[in-house]
Symmetry: C2
Subunit: 341 residues, 2 copies
């Protein structure tokens, strides 16, 4: 089956310089994939030169005359940039001309535009952001990473339902274990929203394992999906980044102290490199906006070609597995069951 994905080729800190090589690599690896590069036609054509020949019509350009700036306000982008590469890419998803779109652009603008153009799945209020983070045993999926603050119990429950569908598709597992982030594992711990969400999850067909704490994010056992409010999830994600930055910086300082430590660094270089590769953030790039009536994948704005390719590959997998439809069906069946009750 032919799969078509729209790429916001102008988005991110580096635009076509990153999006084009990543797109070409992704086409090489996925024989049934077609990509529509959305952006300034002249810029894209000159960047591509004769490279399109290799892909026998699997690569096309859709012109868009505008570009959303990285720090532009979401409401202004929505109002004034109706022909932006981001918006046109999302339009392609709405019009069924692409099964997903991928953008490294401004997160707020992407979320506002996707919500406006694609609309939400009935029963869902706002998109939630789900991504994977590295862990001792591989990786863990976490949502929400910042789409929603002050999430209600019902929203947390919805995150669980939607997130489980993403995990099933991406990790190819049938019944992912779902944990709810809390500040203790005892029943009395936490705020009212979390306690009520726990009850909703217990009474659902989610494979709910109960509360998990912050250390489960990277050092947890056997939890496939961690559900939390977007404020907490976003802080936790950036705390992981900060901790890794600190550790890397302090190790550099220690290895750089004198001739002996620098010698040790020389001997350890291959080991440290192998370690670094295991938690390379580029291999975890790509967050899905769930709850929309269409598949939108956000890449980190500062992504390089490898990182952007990871986000494209995530779009390929989720589109092939039809995650959006599965989420929509699941939410509809839950709402229907409630009405019958």
């Amino acid at each position: 089956m032919r799969l078509i994905i729209a790429v916001d080729a102008m988005g991110g800190d580096f635009g076509p310089e990153v999006t084009i090589p990543a797109s070409l690599n992704c086409l090489k690896k996925n024989a049934n994939l077609s990509l529509i590069l959305v952006g300034d036609e002249q810029v894209l054509k000159s960047s591509l030169a004769d490279k399109t020949d290799d892909f026998s019509g699997r690569l096309s350009i859709q012109h868009a005359s505008q570009c959303v700036e990285m720090h532009e306000s979401p409401s202004k982008a929505l109002k004034n940039k109706k022909d932006s590469s981001m918006r046109v890419a999302i339009n392609l998803v709405r019009d069924d001309k692409a099964a997903a779109c991928v953008s490294a652009g401004n997160t707020g603008a992407l979320m506002a535009t996707a919500r406006f153009v694609l609309k939400m799945i009935p029963g869902i209020d706002r998109p939630a952001i789900i991504s994977t983070i590295p862990s001792i045993h591989g990786h863990t999926h976490v949502l929400d990473l910042g789409g929603n603050v002050d999430s209600s119990a019902e929203q947390l429950f919805q995150f669980g339902i939607m997130g489980a569908e993403v995990v099933k598709a991406v990790d190819n597992i049938d019944n992912p274990e779902v944990g709810l982030l809390n500040i203790g594992e005892e029943e009395t711990k936490g705020n009212e929203q979390v306690k009520a969400a726990s009850k909703l999850m217990e009474n659902s067909d989610l494979n709910y394992i109960g509360y998990v704490e912050g250390n489960s994010l990277c050092a947890g056992n056997d939890v496939d999906l961690i559900v939390t409010d977007g404020f907490v999830g976003n802080v936790a994600l950036k705390t992981i980044e900060g901790t890794a930055t600190m550790i890397s910086q302090l190790m550099k300082e220690e290895f750089g102290k004198n001739i002996f430590t620098r010698l040790a660094a020389f001997f350890s270089f291959p080991v440290l490199k192998a370690f670094k590769n295991r938690i390379d953030p580029r291999l975890y790039n790509g967050a899905s906006f769930v709850g929309l009536r269409g598949l939108v994948i956000k890449s980190h704005g500062g992504a390089d070609s490898l990182a952007f390719e990871t986000a494209l590959q995530l779009a390929v997998v989720e589109a092939e597995k039809n995650v959006t439809q599965k989420i929509s069906d699941k939410v509809a069946s839950i709402l229907a069951a409630r009405k019958i009750k």
Copy 2:
């Protein structure tokens, strides 16, 4: 001036085995300090044997017949353990027989008991938990780490006021820089509580630098105190632990892979050890409960002797600087100023 501190000698996973050596070391390092070890007199006497002789009356025992278990419910401990080592130690603070108490016991029970026995400073609802975490540039103080969930803007503001007094005392700085944890640095980001707390801090005499994000916790520049809700702070703290555990585990795996990597590990051992010492959690042990009418320091339950000594030393510094009185005066002056308006 003579300083007296009460030690819950039975608390924590290891009891006197840890609290006694730590207490003796702390006495050696602080010539004007006296300690009251609270717990089972017979057990403590036999553990101490003849070691008290060195301290010419600076070490005494206060008998307490009960002990709060590590997983006992706070309400049960409060009701049934009126002669616990924890409770008797707190009573000594209430009765002005000690300037502070230190316990490695059950956090919930310690908080409930401290609140019941000592009462809150007028204007403060519940104790907040403040501690330091390692960072690239030394350390950062963070509160609340789990005392309060769903904190209001007023509570977040109070955390800032109280935390700043702790930072002044512990770090010996006049005007600590205070940041408010949020999910972005723009004004529009975050939830209503955080936005309103930001306004309160801007209009106060706090040295408020604005919003900081999760990565500022370990990799932040120049922020001395980070203020957040207890749910978020607790998750962030445990996320740091989880991230450090993951990195340490993955590095062990890489260094243990084969004969060459094990050789590299051998050469790097002193460097890795020096690095580990810099972020040794034992050097960050000890959290203060602020907002109470008396000084209570909580040590990690699993603390070893060095870690418990760190917590004792924190109590010494905060008691010497009279932090509780300073917090109380500051809160009273803010409340008075509001009444005049």
